[in-house]
Symmetry: C2
Subunit: 308 residues, 2 copies
Amino acid sequence: MVKMVLGGAQMGPIQKADSREAVVARMMELMRQAHAQGVEFLVYPELCLTTFFPRWYAEDISEFDHYFETEMPNAATQPLFDLARECGMGFTFGYAELTPDGHHYNTSVIVDRAGEIVLTYRKTHLPGHAEYDPERTHQHLEKRYFEPGDTGFGVVRSDGMVMGMAICNDRRWPETFRVLGLQGVELVTIGYNTPSQNSQSGDEGLEKRLYHSELSVTAGAYQNSTYVASIAKAGTEDGHHLMGGSILVDPDGFVIARATTEEDELITAEMDTERCAFGKSTVFNFAAHRRIEHYGLIASQTGAKAPE
Amino acid sequence: MVKMVLGGAQMGPIQKADSREAVVARMMELMRQAHAQGVEFLVYPELCLTTFFPRWYAEDISEFDHYFETEMPNAATQPLFDLARECGMGFTFGYAELTPDGHHYNTSVIVDRAGEIVLTYRKTHLPGHAEYDPERTHQHLEKRYFEPGDTGFGVVRSDGMVMGMAICNDRRWPETFRVLGLQGVELVTIGYNTPSQNSQSGDEGLEKRLYHSELSVTAGAYQNSTYVASIAKAGTEDGHHLMGGSILVDPDGFVIARATTEEDELITAEMDTERCAFGKSTVFNFAAHRRIEHYGLIASQTGAKAPE
């Protein structure tokens, strides 16, 4: 059980020209603000060391390898790890990972208060497409640059609570929250880079996309009696707009902190993991109420099959 | 594909003293109103022929067998089936079912425009408890009077669309919507009897319960690109208050019709199953995006197991 201040570090845009060192300096400034406000765990967004490069097409994907990290921490991020240890603060952030054996993942890590990486997660639900699509208003080539994650949704008990991660599009899938919920998760951290316009529908702009994001996250929190931190990289990157709308959500599914800008912005809220216990022991007492004999299709059939 | 007017027939309270014939007369009045407004499919609530009897304890459960139906249609409900066929209207409603071999279920049926029962569903997620619980402000003995349903979440293609059912507490479980979504559902019908106060928490009253109900239903609609009709039996039954809040929801997760009373009340909205296609073929194209290799726990582990 832990009672503490949770922080979300929304990041404003990162331009193509921005160095990792400049970005890490911004992250450290947010961490200092968070420390001053008593934050003990801080959540940064997805792919938060660089611009959101999957919006551009490269014939040869290795042309974009410079957006990837080959080790973590590395020279650019070590100062962030050092500052966190100094502050006694745990944190999580996302980055593009290139493994020694050549695999590309959209990855996030949880770092404990002692500065150790205690959990690594590789994004499961890659949105978008793998080939250039002239029908779209803009490209979203995550399926080109990344492989689907091989970690699944793990959790770690660290610094007094059970934590798990999801990344961006994962939050729209209730399977994400449920697999974490079945492992007793008390805090789900999510980072995202979400274009404010659907590339395939002029009818789906900022307002609708903010609604869908919040709907998915609040439902996931309520239905698994867990805190959730859902944190954006926001604003206009190299002419492409990303939505903000970072929120912290309590185990009842209520928003308890909300970003109001599209810039670097700290949001904070008190959390108490004891508040997860009521839901987990009553309406969402899984052992008492779930009926797995009727859930088979979920884990055995990928696509939808309608009757004739 | 079908474009039509969908109706939700919220029911006000049914007292212990009310006869089935009196209730069916109210249902028929709502059906006539619906027909006058061009409704082609009408959704009634859970257990809508009697008062919500699981609020009372009976030592011998057969004392309550008089609340159950042993055949459907029967003498009391035949006039409703006849009127629907006359109107060319499909409909669904819930009732307590006692089978010839002595099983008790919380059941609903879909009846097509020709007056035939084309799908039967027996409630999967029974809430509450099986024994008298003096700790609660009121009893919720569904686990005493009913067995968990043996049907699972099936769908039927009928009158031009793919339909499936859920009952009350089922709506809080994303597994419900996903199993239906994996069968291409375009309309999920839900009936409920939900006490406006949590029997185990003074902190959870009407406002919070309406929020949780709507949150679960709108998320289920969005995440499966389906219409949902979620229809209450509402008001004060024999001194016990049930919440209202009946809604019709579109495949984007937006509420398109909402009841404003706790009485018999018809709500209607245009629906067009073609609107389900966009989500089902893009962000929720299950075949393209789902990763069942990471969903195993959902169908293999009933209760939550947190790490040490």
